[in-house]
């Protein structure tokens, strides 16, 4: 990992509030280094600490601490029943839209009709 990147990542993570998952829009708003890391994991689907150690050329303790911070902040989730433990980006729920209720009533009958 390039000089200072790990520290910057830790600082960026510490500065963020805990949240219940993130969305693609939120990823765009992240600072560059954190965005790059989340992007890397999102693009891979899942990663293990060992894989990140190899790719980022960083000590295992540092990567483990980084992943733990990201889990605590709600950006990553542990993938259950994986050995070694794997992590994935905790993508949240697609936000719904506020649209006129008249539209829902117009479609409600259709939904009931379709069961």
């Amino acid at each position: 990992m390039p000089n200072g990147l790990f520290e910057r990542l830790q600082d960026e993570i510490e500065a963020r509030d805990r949240r219940e998952g993130i969305g693609p829009v939120d990823v765009l708003a992240l600072p560059k280094d954190l965005r790059g890391l989340i992007q890397r994991i999102m693009r891979r689907g899942q990663v293990s600490a060992a894989e990140l150690v190899q790719e980022l050329k960083s000590p295992e303790e540092a990567i483990e601490a980084l992943l733990q911070s990201l889990v605590e902040k709600g950006y990553l989730a542990r993938v259950p029943e994986t050995t070694p433990l794997r992590y994935k980006v905790a993508l949240g729920r697609r936000r719904t839209r506020q649209i006129p209720t008249g539209i829902w009533s117009a479609l409600a009958d259709k939904v009931e009709e379709e069961g």
Partner: protein, 261 residues
Amino acid sequence: MSKIVSIHSFRGGTGKSNITANMAVTIAHHGHRVGIIDTDIQSPGIHVLFGLDEEKMDRTLNDYLWGKYAIEETAYDVSDQVGETTVMDSRVYLIPCSLQPGEIAKVLREGYDVGLLNDGFRALIGKLNLDYLFIDTHPGLNEETLLSIAISDALVIILRPDQQDYQGTAVTLDVAKKLGVPEIHLLVNKVLASLDFGEVRARVEKTFDVPVLAVLPLNAEMVQLGSAGVFCLRYPNHPFTHAIEEIAQALVDRPAGEIEL
């Protein structure tokens, strides 16, 4: 390594679904296993090109998102409809979205688990042993298009020679670069035959500093076909089909790569 290719345009009507279908079929004809997933939940349509009857589509992406089916169970093998393949084991699978108004309304009203959609892309590749997964997206920037851009190995942005498209493409490119897409291409479609295609290509490449895969003419036969089928199958010797062949080859020639942090 499998390759995820997102086909996107900032504006509607650029020919995205038609080009997606034609590219996917052409790549399959070269001996690959190809999946096409329609993530345009609000206005699905690519299934029409493959002759899928909405009344008979009893399993869709929507059903996967609601937990009714595994994603591979919502994949329709449309290989028989795309003609003979040059190499055995090449297939084309289509994962459609529902066209039922109630289903569309349900997504808009209740939302869905974006993580599930992301997991679904990878599950499709694994379960169907895909070489390529094409993601047909809704125009503009929204959760689905941002997700597909974020996880894609390649992004093809389609635009017309139109000022609205130029502005929108600039926005999309900015987002794509921020999201670290490894491979980005532009494709200029519906260009009047009276224009100098070389000039159009040069201008677009200079404006956006991104390679242009192809400049495709406004195609009367395509308009006449009206999405009633996959164009390259109906017109195998048409210049449009030859251009699609070159585009497909360009995508195949570049394997999926890794991003840098």
